[in-house]
């Protein structure tokens, strides 16, 4: 909310930057104000705000002007310094220059070059017109006065030690400081807001949810003097408070569920979010919270939680794009960490120092790289794989004790089964030579061929249209990663699914195989470019066959004994036998995108299967996985009579190419690889080994499936030998000439005392949360302040440097910072670095509790807090309000991210893999926004529309916009329609007249009764909608079908639909999504 706008000089003055800087609030004397060329009416407004102050102060008045206009060329950055003149340090500024002029002669403005030049005209004027930073008359006079008064410099406020001033009055010090500041301008605060407003405000701020009617009533009527305090303590103790605080924190640390670059695939990160949730729930001290995240893995005897917290260092965007230059990306990752830590803990804009010394603040380029060097110990690669065994680098598995026990059991069983299989294979070894001969003979004689079956019928259980192509020509478009080919040929038994695209489906295919004896059946999953995702499924990024069954007419089911597929990259948790294990929750899948283009799944019958000339065979393929639309788009069924036909879609591949090659090598010429390949094929083929092979396969599958259920999270892992960190000239990662730097804090802030040992991330964390650190506590409390007033005490939350805003009430900021580090006020039960304590004391203040009505236009943007502020709630809360008011919200705390429904095709510009979205079902549809799966490159559109950041980069300061797209979301996004429908059901459940019901609905949505006018508007909407829906009952039925929540029984559809329109209007009200 506090981003400033700068525009050209031709813009109206009130938009320009100079009016958004500190001096406006503090610096000007009355005469200065009057002499301003600013629109007079505006001045009248500000006039009372500015304390008459005889003395000009450097920090308050001069530094912001110079930072904006002078320091670019006469500041800390050597490389862009002009005329050898430096103005940010007094000793330099009073020295004569080469040309004899002296920039500043303290006490003598007319002899001071800077005063001469700023008042000059034409070519001599400073700053030069080319930089478009003209000084106002007020600014020029202020500088002149400062020089006249002796040009006294001050250290920058944010780098001075925190000073705990004695509050100017008894009571809550927040009020004492705020009221003292207001009193200087003769201003007063508003009285306390009414109780309904108050409970709604504090509930939304602390928990992100509006109060229920019962909560509102009970608070409104509570006569206890500490009624409000009880309310606050109840809210603070709620898990909803932790969720609300986590929502903010996750923006800062750029938490997301995907890696951000290129394919933007899912990153195992959510246990870190649970860590954050638990930290706020348990009110973890902020110093520990900091240490855990920056260096949890380095803490001696680190707990599991501390290791999980260290995921913080791994939440930066990473890329798996082929052909990336690893060094370049390592530079990007390191820079991201420096920017994040500088922003979140230090309120400093260190990012610019990647390429050059900071232009306005005393950060050097060396500081940037010294900070980066703290993270040089983290094990990482430039290309961070997004799949396969090495995916995401170091991960921590988080099994429950039960899962751990099961893991051990499975491992023991698997070891035993493998021993048994090895023994069996040793016993069967003598048969191998004979088997090899038979295999090659059968192959040569064509006995292994797969016979594609031509269906006579193909049916879908859930409405897909299955069309059979036997002799009919079909266009096949395949793509192997580099080349596309198109070919038109007869389908040869191909079945193509089209039409409705259900989430799950069962395909039933019938064909007449003719007389024969069959040993195995094959499902060919046929790829085509027309299909989305990995070009085999109708929707998802995978195909999952949960179960395959076959049956011969008159003979009943033909059970399968084992399975095999020709996947290049089989997924251990989706093994072939999972498709024949009778368990619908498991399945075989094609689940990676760089797959064989001719995938087939072969299933061996338990007994050879005999068919007659007129036998009919029916195959049922159940596709019931949790993945939406992981259903085949094109497939065939084939049968084989051979004893060991390897699965494939092409004739001649019944022995894999490489095995065939090895088999043709004479026994004594075979390499180890040849022997391994043959042995594996033999093991798969020889019937006598099958029982043992299957036993191993089943245990492997069980282990893999268990492994998949165990949550994982990326974590930091330190290497013994940190990589060298060089200063990169102009940020150029290819420049290897820069000096190697050791980890260090920015030089001007001091030096870590490590006794000569290389400083670590833990040292950095300890320095950040050292009570003497001037930045961390101030930065933290300033951000917290924003949550409760809409703006920080300094509104530049991420810039406490000279370009940031001077805090509007520095004593208050400092007092809060000191209180954060060592609680003193009502501090029973509080601890050092107490995050909840600070929140509690702010919301208990009168300043927080006052009404929002503004009757004093002297402070139009309410920086001094003569009243409360009104602002729209955050994106997640917009949704949470609708879910909560409607009664749909699921209140589960923590756990994996969920995927609320979003429009089809929203992810169409993504690739590697192409994908379609599998929305969550059941309760997971109604989880709070904080649990939404955060897809960085395409964040859920409703959240994005309400200004949720993509978290590609650390964000401490969300924008808060008001757009037509927001209206479209609230009006038409199905979740809001469903919420309205559910809300309407509850409104109708409320006994009474239409008027009573409307009263109830307003109370529920916005914690107050409607006015007569509001009631009339809403009743009119109800009546006209009812008329409409009575006329078109089909419309009512359509509307009531939106979403998955059940429609309450006993309600008439037209009434329910009409009330849905009412509920929808209420959920769309500005007031509903505004915290007042």
């Amino acid at each position: 909310m506090t981003r400033r706008l700068t525009v050209s000089r031709q813009q109206p003055e009130w938009l320009s930057d100079s009016h958004r800087q500190g001096p406006d609030y503090h610096g000007r004397t009355r005469s200065a104000i009057y002499s301003s060329h600013v629109n007079a009416k505006f001045c009248v407004g500000l006039f009372f705000l500015f304390t008459a102050s005889a003395e000009v102060r450097f920090n308050r008045d001069i530094r912001p002007i110079m930072a904006n206009t002078c320091f670019r060329c006469h500041g800390p950055d050597k490389s862009s310094r002009m005329a050898g003149m430096r103005l940010d340090i007094r000793d330099e500024a009073v020295k004569p220059l080469r040309d004899g002029a002296t920039p500043i002669v303290p006490g003598d403005p007319e002899k001071s070059a800077i005063v001469q030049r700023i008042f000059a005209t034409g070519a001599r004027v400073m700053p030069p017109s080319s930089i478009h930073k003209e000084l106002t008359d007020v600014q020029k006079n202020t500088i002149r006065q400062w020089v006249a008064e002796g040009a006294k410099y001050e250290g920058h406020w944010a780098y001075q030690p925190v000073q705990r001033a004695t509050p100017p009055a008894p009571g809550n010090p927040v009020d004492a400081f705020v009221q003292a500041r207001l009193a200087k301008d003769g201003m007063q605060q508003q009285p306390e807001a009414d109780r309904r407003t108050l409970i709604r405000r504090v509930s939304l701020d602390l928990t992100g949810l509006p109060p229920t009617i019962e909560e509102t009533e009970s608070f409104a009527k509570d006569p206890a003097p500490n009624a409000y305090e009880k309310l606050v303590d109840r809210l603070l103790a709620s898990p909803r408070y932790a969720e609300q605080q986590a929502m903010h924190w996750l923006d800062f640390v750029r938490y997301a569920d995907t890696c951000g670059f290129h394919g933007d695939n899912a990153l195992p990160a959510w246990p870190y979010r649970d860590y954050v949730l638990h930290a706020f729930r348990d009110n973890k001290p902020f110093n520990e919270f900091t240490r855990d995240q920056l260096a949890g893995d380095l803490i001696p005897d680190a707990t599991r939680d501390q290791k999980v917290a260290s995921a913080f260092n791994r939440l930066n965007r990473t890329s798996a794009e082929g052909g990336l230059q690893p060094k370049e990306y390592l530079a990007k990752y390191g820079a991201d960490r420096v920017r994040t830590i500088a922003s979140v803990w230090m309120g400093s804009t260190l990012g610019c120092a990647e390429c050059h010394d900071h232009k306005f603040d005393p950060f050097l380029s060396r500081d940037f790289y010294s900070m980066k060097a703290f993270f040089a110990d983290i094990k990482e690669t430039g290309l961070v794989p997004d799949r396969g065994a090495k995916a995401w680098g170091t991960q921590l598995a988080l099994p429950t004790p039960e899962q751990q026990k099961r893991q051990e059991e499975l491992k023991d069983a698997l070891d035993a089964a493998k021993v048994k299989l090895t023994a069996t294979m040793a016993r069967l070894q003598p048969q191998r030579a004979a088997w090899e001969k038979r295999l090659l003979d059968d192959y040569a004689a064509g006995k292994l061929v797969w016979h594609n079956q031509h269906p006579i019928s193909a049916k879908s259980a859930n409405g897909s249209v299955l069309k059979i192509y036997n002799e009919e020509p079909v266009l096949f478009t395949t793509y192997d990663g580099n080349n596309g080919t198109q070919d038109s040929k007869p389908g040869d038994g191909l079945v193509i699914a089209s039409g409705p695209n259900p989430d799950n489906d069962t395909y039933t295919v019938t064909f007449r195989p003719g007389a024969g004896t069959w040993t195995a059946m094959e499902v060919q999953v046929v790829q085509d470019e027309a299909l989305p995702g990995i070009r085999v499924a109708r929707g998802a990024d995978r195909v999952v066959l949960s179960e395959v069954e076959a049956e011969v007419s008159g003979r009943g089911k033909a059970p399968f004994a084992s399975g095999m597929s020709n996947l290049n990259n089989p997924s251990a948790e989706f093994p072939p036998i999972a498709a024949i294990d009778g368990d619908l929750s498991t399945g075989w899948a094609i689940a990676t995108y760089n797959e064989n283009t001719k995938v087939a799944l072969a299933l061996r019958f338990t007994e050879p299967l005999h068919t007659d000339g007129d036998s009919t065979m029916t195959v049922r393929i159940l596709q019931n996985s949790e993945f939406r639309r992981a259903t085949m788009g094109r497939f065939r069924i084939a049968l084989s009579s051979g004893d060991y036909s390897y699965p494939h879609q092409d004739a001649g591949k019944e022995i894999p190419d490489n095995v065939l090659k090895s088999l043709k090598v004479a026994e004594d010429k075979r390499t180890d690889d040849d022997r391994k390949r043959i042995a594996a094929h033999f093991q798969w083929a020889v019937p006598e080994a099958q029982a043992d092979v299957i036993a191993v396969a089943k245990l492997e599958a069980a282990s893999a499936m268990l492994e998949k259920q165990i949550p994982h999270v990326v974590v930091s892992e330190a290497t013994e030998k940190p990589v060298d960190t060089r200063i990169l000239g102009r940020g150029n990662w290819m420049d290897e000439t820069g000096e190697v730097v050791a980890p260090a804090i920015p030089v001007f802030l001091g030096k870590l005392d490590t006794g000569g040992r290389r400083a670590t991330r833990l040292d950095l964390a300890n320095w950040l949360v050292d009570p003497k650190n001037p930045l961390t506590a101030r930065v933290y409390v300033n951000r917290v302040w924003r949550q409760f007033f809409g703006s920080g005490i300094s509104k530049s939350l991420d810039d406490f440097g000279s370009q940031g805003e001077w805090p509007v009430n520095p004593e208050l900021l400092d007092w809060l910072a000191a209180e954060f580090v060592h609680p003193d006020w009502q501090a029973e039960g509080a601890h050092d670095w107490d995050m909840r304590h600070i929140v509690r004391m702010i919301v208990l203040s009168k300043t927080y509790r006052q009404a929002s009505a503004n009757n004093d236009e002297r402070d139009p943007d309410n920086r001094l807090l003569s009243h409360q502020s009104r602002f729209r709630v955050d994106a997640e809360v917009v949704r949470d309000i609708a879910l909560s008011v409607s009664g749909l919200m699921a209140d589960k705390f923590g756990g994996p991210s969920v995927k609320p429904a979003q429009p089809d095709g929203y992810l169409m510009a993504m690739n590697f893999p192409k994908r379609e979205y599998s929305a969550s079902h059941g309760d997971d549809m109604y989880r709070r926004g904080v649990y939404t799966f955060w897809q960085r490159s395409f964040l859920h559109p409703s959240l994005l529309t309400f200004d949720a950041p993509t978290r590609e980069e650390c964000t401490v300061n969300r924008t808060n916009s008001n757009t037509p797209l927001q209206a479209l979301v609230l009006l038409n996004d199905p979740i809001y329609v469903e919420a309205a429908r559910a809300f309407a059901g509850n409104i109708l459940k409320h006994e009474g007249s239409l008027g009573d019901r409307i009263n109830w609905a307003f109370e529920r949505a916005i914690s107050r009764a409607p006015s007569g006018e509001e009631k009339r508007v809403v009743s009119d909407l109800y009546r006209s909608s009812l008329q409409q829906f009575r006329k078109s009952p089909d419309d009512a039925a359509e509307l009531l079908k939106v979403g998955e929540a059940p429609t309450p029984s006993g309600e008439k559809p037209a009434e329910l639909a009409a009330m849905t329109m009412v509920a929808r209007a209420l959920l769309n009200m500005h007031e509903t999504i505004t915290r007042n």
């Binding site: 990012g351 580099n482 960085r936 993509t950 009200m1069």
Partner: protein
């Protein structure tokens, strides 16, 4: 409301920092007779040549060597080792560690038009408008992978969170429409299957209020997300709902006088107008067959050709910045066949758009841009493809104050690096803004203590290509 109240409120509003949207909303309120929203560059820094931009963004990195940059020497050297003097110490993507061999251009070039501009033979339609276009052969960028290269081309920075060029332009100039977003994005997909992903970051408003983000019009599902009424809610019901919501909000405004509420009301009005105007915009059935044929567009097919036609319709309706992404230019392999496929998909429609705009008298004030995030190596990849390349590539521009019928800048004899008159991404942005009447150095946003600009801290207007 008395006028002076407005003043105060407006200031109150602006100084709170959520300013811009509120300002525009309030401007609408104050001047309801005006059909357009203004931007912050008002008045313009200098007279504008272009009023709007249609950017035909060829995503994936089109080969300059098979489009606009004729390199006979490279043809002669095909198959021979690439001289190390060109490549030593340079960034390399997928060819890291490979032997580098010259790969001859796979198609001939021809001279077209009176200007005699050299264009690859695969693009005869673009050739037919050769006298209307300017070819820039000396573009260069600094990012060699798709995602960051797109990001710098669109936002001038690789750090996420910077506004995209469309957002800057919309923010700077506003739009000549109140029924449609001022910045629209269209996406099409080629048939070759070499499709790199594109993140929504590419049209994000970044630090600017989200009102200025690009709105993607979709070819499947709702053309604008959530533009369709819920099932069972007809236009009349929707209207009465929006009316009721606005009445409720007006009641709140009457009590509180918070300008943010007024903005909300006008946004609901605009949303409702969008619901009405978008279907008409998307319905190309009334376009004469002749026009459809000229573009090669089949309404509803979501093709690049259809999007070009849609772009013209958007331009006519006052949209300020229209960006068409056509994906599928990432020709690491199978370049010869695939570049021909791309030419088939883009050549006719690109030329048709220029011709159509010209016939309607709109080319003079519409800047059309054709190009991608980088070019491709003169070296072969895998014998039949080209790798990513940043040191030199081509752009094509037309209309909106661009000098027609000229070729500007060169690459070296092998098409490796921009040699004469190199044009950086920032130079390109500066030039684009210049044509719109904006001085790139003066369109800035304060962020973390810096004046953030589309052109970062550099960028020079390429004066030689201006009329």
């Amino acid at each position: 409301m008395k006028p002076c109240d407005c003043q105060i409120h407006r200031r109150a509003f602006l100084s709170r920092g959520i300013a811009c949207v509120g300002l525009l909303g309030l401007n609408n309120l104050l001047a309801q007779e005006k059909a357009a929203s203004h931007g912050v560059v008002n008045p313009l820094h200098h007279p504008a040549k272009a009023k709007r931009i249609i950017f035909l963004y060829q995503a994936g990195g089109p080969s300059h060597l098979e489009t606009f940059d004729n390199k006979p020497k490279l043809r002669a050297e095909g198959g021979k080792p690439m001289p190390e003097s060109f490549t030593k110490g340079q960034q390399i993507a997928q060819l890291q560690g490979s032997k580098l061999t010259c790969y001859a251009p796979q198609y001939d070039f021809k001279r077209f038009g009176k200007s005699g501009q050299e264009i690859c033979e695969l693009f005869p339609h673009i050739g037919s408008v050769a006298d209307d276009i300017c070819i820039v052969r000396s573009m260069w960028t600094e990012q060699i992978n798709h995602d960051p290269a797109h990001t710098i081309m669109n936002t001038g920075s690789i750090i996420p969170g910077r506004p995209s060029m469309g957002s800057w332009v919309f923010y700077g100039l506003g739009a000549d429409t109140n029924d449609l977003p001022g910045f629209v994005v269209l996406l099409s997909t080629g048939k070759g299957g070499q499709m790199q992903p594109i993140a929504a970051r590419q049209w994000s408003a970044g630090l600017l209020p989200s009102k200025f983000q690009g709105v993607k019009l979709n070819s499947i599902g709702d053309p604008v997300l959530y533009i369709e009424n819920p099932p069972g809610v007809n236009a009349k019901l929707q209207q009465s709902s929006v009316d009721a919501i606005n009445k409720l909000n007006r009641a709140e405004f009457a009590a509180l006088r918070d300008p943010e509420i007024q903005t909300r009301i006008s946004q609901y009005e605009m949303a409702f107008r969008m619901q009405t105007s978008v279907p008409g915009l998307m319905d190309m059935s009334k376009e004469p067959q002749k026009v459809l044929d000229m573009y090669g567009a089949q309404p509803g097919d979501g093709s690049f050709a259809s999007n070009c036609l849609l772009a013209r319709r958007l331009a006519e309706r006052g949209v300020r910045f229209i960006q068409l992404y056509h994906r599928d230019w990432d020709h690491h392999g199978g370049l010869k066949a695939n570049i021909a496929l791309k030419a088939e998909e883009t050549d006719r429609a690109t030329a048709a758009l220029i011709t159509d705009l010209k016939e309607r008298g709109m080319l003079d004030d519409t800047l059309v841009i054709w190009g991608g995030e980088f070019g491709r190596t003169p070296m072969s990849q895998g014998g039949d493809g080209r790798d990513h390349h940043i040191k030199g590539f081509s752009y094509m521009m037309a209309g909106g104050g661009i000098k027609p019928g000229i070729t500007y800048g060169t690459t070296d004899e092998l098409g490796y690096a921009a040699e004469e008159n190199p044009v950086s991404v920032h130079d390109f942005h500066a030039t684009m803004l210049h044509l719109l009447g904006i001085d790139h150095k003066r369109l800035a946003m304060k962020f973390q203590g810096l004046d953030v600009r589309l052109t970062g801290i550099s960028g020079d207007v390429v004066k030689d290509i201006l009329v």
